[in-house]
Subunit: 354 residues, 2 copies
């Protein structure tokens, strides 16, 4: 097995305490002792056991990151951000993927607790989420991202889904569309529900009915986007425009429309939540709300480390701003009430405390 602190101490002719002091750069240790310890470490290729250390100091230098779907590009740069910040703090990231499955979510949260992680960042699969509450009750520092959690006052980083969806759908309305379909994620997650609300607000403002047949929801996966869009296109009177509430659903929607030989935006307009890099490659470019994914991850990680450092800190609920990227998929917008430039300007990457 690997060398341990005792071996280093023996070889260096000092006690384990001295070795530990060298390791942590704390306390007094003579230059001479330090040198021989360092030499011994080198010689034995000593790698201190973080396992033992964590047990002893009763906290590990690992944070858990539980995302709801690793297939979703939205989470990828978020992961990168968390990783970057964690690295700065000398922490490692324990990444888990709930796969939109609340059982897996519970499993992983239990696991993180059992591994005694220092804190957790989580995007809950549902708004009322017992496993998350349990985490909260166990006094484990944690930060919620992307989706809000009901019944607890906890550090949170989200975007204003209602407001941005409202703007996006309004954009479609201003282009003259009156029959706008919606393909959304399930409404047990707040993102799904709020995006529905934004959609509903916009229609209501234009005194349009909220026709149930135009609304489709499911777990946000590509195949679901595909099927739901097909359902909408199969309607006796199909929508002239589509609002899609998530990037995976968008891939499916796009494919469904293409396969039928329909063209965007002439046959049907398309506007969606979430930007993905390939969207700049497809023609026509998609009009989307772009979330600052890296910022969300960075902010959440910073919040978490603040909370770890000071558990008594007051709770912060941060809303980050998005950008409206207007491209060609909703058609010409000569008749847009709000000029595109103004909309984009209003959506700087600022932060506000709610």
């Amino acid at each position: 097995m690997a060398a341990k602190i005792k071996d280093v101490a023996r070889l260096a002719g000092v006690s384990t305490a001295t070795v530990s002091r060298v390791l942590s750069n704390e306390g007094y240790v003579s230059e001479e002792a330090r040198k021989s310890v360092l030499a011994a470490m080198e010689q034995l290729r000593y790698q201190p056991s973080r396992l033992a250390r964590s047990l002893r100091v009763q906290r590990s230098r690992i944070i858990g990151l539980l995302i709801s779907d690793i297939q979703n590009p939205f989470f990828i740069s978020l992961v990168r951000a968390v990783e970057d910040i964690a690295l700065q703090h000398q922490y490692a990231v324990f990444l888990c993927n709930a796969d939109e499955n609340s059982e897996k979510e519970k499993f992983y949260l239990d696991l993180m607790q059992a591994e005694r992680v220092a804190g957790v960042i989580v995007s809950p699969t549902r708004e009322r989420d017992d496993p998350c509450l349990q985490l909260f009750q166990a006094d484990i520092p944690f930060v919620v991202i992307d989706r809000k959690l009901a019944d607890v006052n906890v550090d949170t980083v989200v975007v204003d889904n209602i407001q941005y969806t409202y703007q996006l759908v309004k954009h479609l309305l201003e282009d003259g569309h009156r029959r706008i379909g919606a393909v959304l994620g399930i409404s047990t997650a707040t993102t799904g529900r709020e995006r529905y609300e934004g959609y509903a607000q916009a229609l209501t403002e234009y005194q349009l009915p909220l026709s149930p047949e135009l609304l489709r929801t499911s777990i946000p996966r590509e195949e679901n986007g595909y099927h739901l869009t097909n359902e909408l296109l199969d309607l006796a009177e199909p929508p002239t425009a589509l609002f899609v509430g998530n990037n995976l659903l968008t891939v499916g929607a796009f494919r469904a429309i293409s396969e039928r030989g329909r063209t965007i935006p002439d046959d049907i307009a398309l506007a969606a939540f979430d930007e993905v890099d390939w969207m700049s490659l497809v023609k026509p470019g998609l009009t989307v709300i772009k979330q600052p994914t890296y910022d969300i991850g960075r902010t959440a990680a910073e919040l978490l480390f603040q909370r770890i450092a000071d558990p008594l800190l007051s709770v912060q609920q941060i809303t980050v701003h998005c950008t409206l990227n207007i491209r060609q998929s909703c058609g010409l917008h000569q008749n847009t009430g709000v000029p595109a430039s103004q909309v984009v300007q209003a959506a700087q990457k600022e932060r506000e405390i709610v």
Copy 2:
């Protein structure tokens, strides 16, 4: 703090040994004792510390997964696969992202060693990779994926890059192209080098020179694909076809071509390594080699658990098969020597031991 085994023992009126026996379902324990222990656990919401357990039994139920770039979709379903298999074995996955940076790679491998993970799956950033060798010398079970490692005989899961690239480039040649540019990943990783070899083999077979000006290599990132492709398009005599060696590079290449208003395949043909889901959305569809990413991950994880179970098992080097997805991006293929159907048939998802 959370309840510990002592608390459970006290509440249940038994010793810690008995609690431990209940926990692990090993050794004799009376039905009566079991019941009261279970009740005590419930009441205290006891979560055994895997940290302490790992220290005691000298091995954790965590495997490390170090991928070279989390932005690359290639790795995502691979991650999913590893996660699925690990879960079956009651292991957790410690996912790290080297970001094509060998310092980060070293940092994470050291970290994994310090955390005493049970084993590691890694896609090395370079062919001669000291941190990986160190892992090997420390007798930590590990499996190499995607890229081979020189100087050691270690469990490996890769694809036959040379062979598939050869087929793909030959396809371009059979379509009549004689000036084929290549945009590849750096050749310190075996994927880059081997894909170059496949390219070279095909050209050589057609007795074409290997013109250095047609070959561009860099770290596989989108912006590099963009710049390198622009360089090729800027040549006095630009290539009529392009082979791109990796999906991130392909996004960049595609963008560069689009931005110049060039059309695929009329102005320039395009064929690439790696499939990504959005490729079915762009027009024209891209001709690509599709790697069985999930299979690669699954195979690697299975190999790792075999090795953990029996360190003396003979080393396995597995080559998984790819699929050639022929679409419209390399032009019509009436003049293709090998019919597409036959090529695809030859590329079933079989396995072979090299």
